[in-house]
Amino acid sequence: MLVLSGDWHLKRGFASAAAVEHELAQSPASRRIAFETGALGEWDSSLVAFVTEVIELCHARDVAVDPSGLPSGLKRLVELAEAVPDNKDAHSASSGTSLAERVGAATIAYVESIAGFLAFLGAVTIALGRFFAGRARYRRVDLMVAIQDCGANAFGIVTLISFLVGTILAFMGAVQLEQFGASIFVADLVGIGMSRDMGAMMTAIIMAGRTGAAFAAQLGTMKVTQEIDALTTMGISPMEFLVLPRVIALILMMPLLCFYSDLMGVLGGSVVGSGMLGLSFTTYFRETLHAVTLTDVLGGVFKSSVYGVIIAISGCLRGFQCGNNSSAVGDAATSAVVTGIVFIVVACGAFALVFNILGI
């Protein structure tokens, strides 16, 4: 006989069935358990949880349960909870697996993701081919919106960051060069640094965080809401319709932003040059023009175009790979930024090597 009494409220926590288990273990002879609820006050789910636990314990020990003593509402709820047998399959899916198995699964997933990436790259290349042949299906409006989004709308942030990077470069150079009385070379440092690498690099990192994440989130959401399926079943290629305008917009806009970023960096450097080193703006800009060659600028602009392709492809790829729920959209955006930045830095290293070998 199990006596239940008093008020049972979830807020106050509820008794564990351990005491009952202990009691059952004490008297292995008991074959039947009944409930006495004469003094029971108010109750809620906490009591239901307790009673179901007790019943499960009894089943495990082959002790019969007589629910007739329970209030009828409670009895009904307990019956409902017990009605569906425990689904063994559902447990096994989420239970832990061995380390070796997980490493294997992760490796297979990794290899598959490379295959997926290559397939995506191929599909984008084909779509670009169709675009240049004038046979691609996309809406001009979408291309214009994408251009506005990753061109004009990015101006503010590119201005700010590039200007600051210019001043930082100038500061770092100024401290060292001043010791040799060669402060004028700050202009060379900033000019060459921005035009060859920093301009393209900073623009790319800004765009990866801004536009790459946005692409992944947009396409990921479209996948979740089946909008991409709707395009596919209508016979419209999502690759041409969604990915192409975004890739082209970035390829077109990145060089412009990069060139603009170079100018802003030089401006930032000149502010430090005139404020800290006492150089006049005229001297500073003349020195910059003298130091920076057209090759430097074009090299940087070319790099930025390649970074643009990387950002667009990683953003769109992650969006397409997105799972079917809202948290997957967040993951897709995060992973688009990470993939984008990693590949940008790798590409930057590769460029440095190749440019060095070519003597540019």
Binding site: V145, T221, M222, Q226, D229, L231, T233, M234, G235
Partner: protein, 268 residues
């Protein structure tokens, strides 16, 4: 097979030319089999219902039929056209004869309703922008969305999105219309209107309609052919006119579903 009595139910499909034939279809994600050995035909002009409990693979079957998922085994044919084995180009041409209404409408968020309906026309016909607009307005009016042409999907209610989705699915006057749970999330009246709309489309345009549904009212109102998928045995356990299944089907699982288990409750 124990379900032979259910499968032998008299169907209208037997008298009509087959429009869709599914042979030995097995659907699987990796090693997890969702459904196996599905065999059925849908006649021209049928309103064919795919029914069954939640999570048994109804929508998955629909996604197989429109080519979004490749079957693990078996094939799907439209008339004499083998959809499963077809080249991508031919398959794309076939897809243009379909209209699909997705569960939540799946309207393109960056376009207005008129643009949504107009896009397929823009892509696949030589109509002028003015004519496209005219047809889009007409299709939207058919689903009761006159005056909402220039709204964006985010500005209208879920039921309206669904109706707009139907308007888009009808844009190219499809031969086969697929609807994924058209009545879920709609109030009974809107759901009834949608049912009428689907029936009118069938009657007036001669379209064949495939509907995934577990809404009994709508199943009995529009369906004249159906299959019943069972999650536990992972295959179909009955097919035929839902009304006849209700009257004659001996399988208790089908009967319980079609009567909402009310007979047994009453006797219990």
């Amino acid at each position: 097979m124990g379900e032979s009595s259910a499968l032998a139910g008299k169907t209208l499909a037997a008298q009509r030319p087959a429009c869709i034939t599914v042979r030995d279809l097995t659907m699987a994600f990796g090693s997890f089999v969702v459904m196996r050995d599905l065999n059925f035909t849908v006649g021209r002009g049928d309103i064919f219902i795919i029914m069954g409990g939640s999570g048994c693979g109804k929508s998955t079957l629909l996604r197989h039929m429109i080519g979004l998922i490749e079957p693990a085994a078996g094939e799907i044919c439209y008339g004499d056209f083998n959809f499963t084995k077809a080249e991508p180009k031919e398959r794309e041409r076939m897809l243009r004869r379909f209209g699909v209404l997705y569960q939540a409408g799946a309207l393109w968020g960056s376009m207005t309703l008129a643009e949504n309906v107009g896009l397929p026309l823009e892509e696949f016909t030589d109509l002028s922008p003015k004519e496209i607009r005219q047809i889009a307005v007409l299709k939207l009016a058919l689903v009761g969305l006159k005056g909402f042409e220039d709204f964006y999907p985010s500005q209208i209610s879920g039921g309206m999105q669904k109706r707009a989705g139907l308007a888009r699915a009808m844009a190219l006057d499809p031969e086969i219309l697929f609807c994924d749970e058209p009545s879920s999330g709609l109030d009974p009246l809107s759901s009834h209107l949608l049912d009428n709309l689907i029936r009118d489309l069938r009657d007036n345009l001669g379209a064949t309609v495939v509907v995934v549904s577990h809404d009994l009212a709508s199943i009995f109102a529009i369906g004249n052919n159906s299959i019943f998928l069972d999650a536990e045995s992972r295959t179909m356990i009955a097919r035929g006119d839902p009304k006849e299944l209700l009257a004659h089907c001996s399988d208790p699982r089908v009967h319980r579903f079609l009567t909402r288990d009310e007979d047994e409750r009453r006797t219990a």
